[in-house]
Amino acid sequence: MKPRYRLLPYLLLLPALVMELLIHIVPMAVGIIMSFKQLTQFFIRDWTAAPWTALNNYRIAVDFSAPIGQSLLNSFWVTCSFTLFAVAFSWLLGVAAAIFMQEPFWGRGVLRAVFLVPYALPVYAAVITWSFMFQRDTGLLNHVLHDQLHLVAEKPFWLIGDNSFIALVVVSVWKTWPFAFLTVMAGLQNVPRELYEAAAMDGATVWQQIREITMPALRPVNQVLVLVLFLWTFNDFNTPYILFGKSAPEAADLISIHIYQSSFVTWNFGSGSAMSVLLLLFLLVVTGIYLVVTARWRDADA
């Protein structure tokens, strides 16, 4: 690098740095400060004037014997199991579809476009349609289950009560799996065809080729993919918000909705911030562990 360009990289980075400061670093710092304050609707005009409460917001959030802590804990478990199901199914569907469509067959191009539709549809339009399909009396789901297939005696409610968890997972999988499909499809392009040719020569079946060649080759892609799916699903706000509105049923009370509710519905920003910081710490720890473990695997492979 010539000396006269020494400042250049910094100049190139400057706009990004300014924006990162403005939209990420400063708000994060403000959020951490807010979590130590008794910040209610009376201080919206000037949040700096709110009184300090030290760790009080945190104490309330993790006091699992009191209502606020209890509902936060419930929401945490709901989010964990929701994430587990949604990521697992999205990943499975995405990988299976990508592998099945690796080899050309009639109609493959059309099908690929069809499978990308959930990814391309604006999330609110899609989720509103799902909420229409889940309506008890006018929805498609109960029409099929009750009127057409006679599988259920009584039309169930899908958007209130325990079934809301199922509804949430279904919609989430529907809109997430195409991303897994897209990513795995891109990853499959890097698998050398000669490997398959050699395996076919040795008499390996298609299933053996998938297990022995495709899946190992996809490992690095899968490691990134699963992490991204986890983070997106865990933090998802759009799906529950459009499906259930500002307060979700207990069985589907995801953490992001929960924080939103305690901040903008009950106007307790301090406690909402404390919950956000706890969420951040949790995600940092989980991601950290994941990265260390997958790096170990990589070293073991090498």
């Binding site: 990289p9 990162e20 708000p27 609110y124 529907w174 298609v206 990134v224 933090n235 939103y260 951040l280």
Partner: protein, 286 residues
């Protein structure tokens, strides 16, 4: 010469499993689209009764009514301005940053990449409260209206797209051979000309992929739009809720409006999807 055996010579079971799986998946994928299309053509009493696959009578009335029930056109314009501005801003900023990171070794490079990568994983809800309060404070002290304005929304939408754009473009730029840069340097091109005339044209698929992603996240965003907009700056994401009144939900109009706002993005996306795959291959997966 005999045709070489297909690398993955599919057995009959494989073909059948594939067929059944793909048909089921297609039904699952398209169900909402079918519901959207058929319900948008039904009169109100039909969507308020039990669901029927085939409408008893067809009407285009919902497509006319959507524009007057809520100010859909205004929401459309708001969404378009906000999404386009956020996309252009994030792509341009990301191009410069990614070029810096991929072509130069400098102090702080690692910290910058790690910071960008980690902000990518943070939940939107984390920034919502502080940004909301910051915008209100800034408005009160300087008179610059960020809360309730399009500008505020554009800035917040960068929170989603900028980290991803930088991350992906760094990967993409690194896949472009350094020899191209060097040849340009020999020809007397400065770094800026090299970027604009060599690197950017070679990275078009990656740049399109990033742009599509940024536009789609902005077009579909709900959380910030629900808190930061007011009546004048409302986007489609929030505006669509207006078809549900206290007494009735005009489901046929909801479906018609959903279809109308989806068509441009889906069409654009399907046109550009091969760039997305190419961009992902080179950028994110390396």
């Amino acid at each position: 010469m005999p045709k070489p055996a297909s690398p993955m010579a599919p057995s009959a079971t494989f073909v059948w499993v594939r067929r059944i799986f793909l048909v089921a998946l297609t039904l699952f994928t398209l169900a909402p689209v079918l519901v959207m299309a058929s319900s948008s053509l039904k009169p109100l009493q039909d969507v308020q009764g039990p669901f029927r696959w085939i409408p008893s009578s067809l009407t285009v009335r919902p497509y006319i009514d959507i524009w007057s029930t809520v100010p859909l056109w205004d929401y459309f314009v708001n969404s378009l301005i906000v999404s386009l501005s956020a996309t252009i801003l994030s792509v341009v900023i990301a191009i410069f940053a990614a070029y810096g990171v991929s072509r130069y070794r400098f102090r702080g490079r690692k910290i910058f990449t790690v910071t960008v990568l980690s902000t990518q994983m943070l939940p939107g809800i984390l920034f919502l409260l502080p940004l909301f309060l910051l915008f209100v404070s800034i408005g009160n002290s300087t008179g610059v209206a960020l809360h309730g304005s399009r500008l505020g929304l554009i800035l917040t939408y960068l929170t989603f797209s900028l980290p991803f754009s930088i991350w992906m473009l760094v990967g993409y730029f690194e896949s472009i051979p350094r020899e191209l840069d060097e040849a340009a340097a020999v020809d007397g091109c400065g770094p800026l000309r090299t970027l604009l005339q060599i690197v950017v044209p070679a990275a078009v698929p990656g740049i399109i992929a990033v742009g599509v992603y940024a536009f789609m996240t902005a077009w579909g965003e709900v959380l910030f739009a629900s808190v930061i907009t007011n009546d004048r700056s409302r986007t489609l994401a929030i505006g669509l809720q207006g078809y549900a009144t206290q007494y009735d939900v005009y489901w046929n109009q909801v479906m018609a409006a959903s279809l109308v706002v989806s068509v441009p993005v889906v069409a654009g996306f399907l046109l550009l999807q091969r760039y997305l795959v190419a961009g992902l291959t080179a950028g994110a997966i390396k």
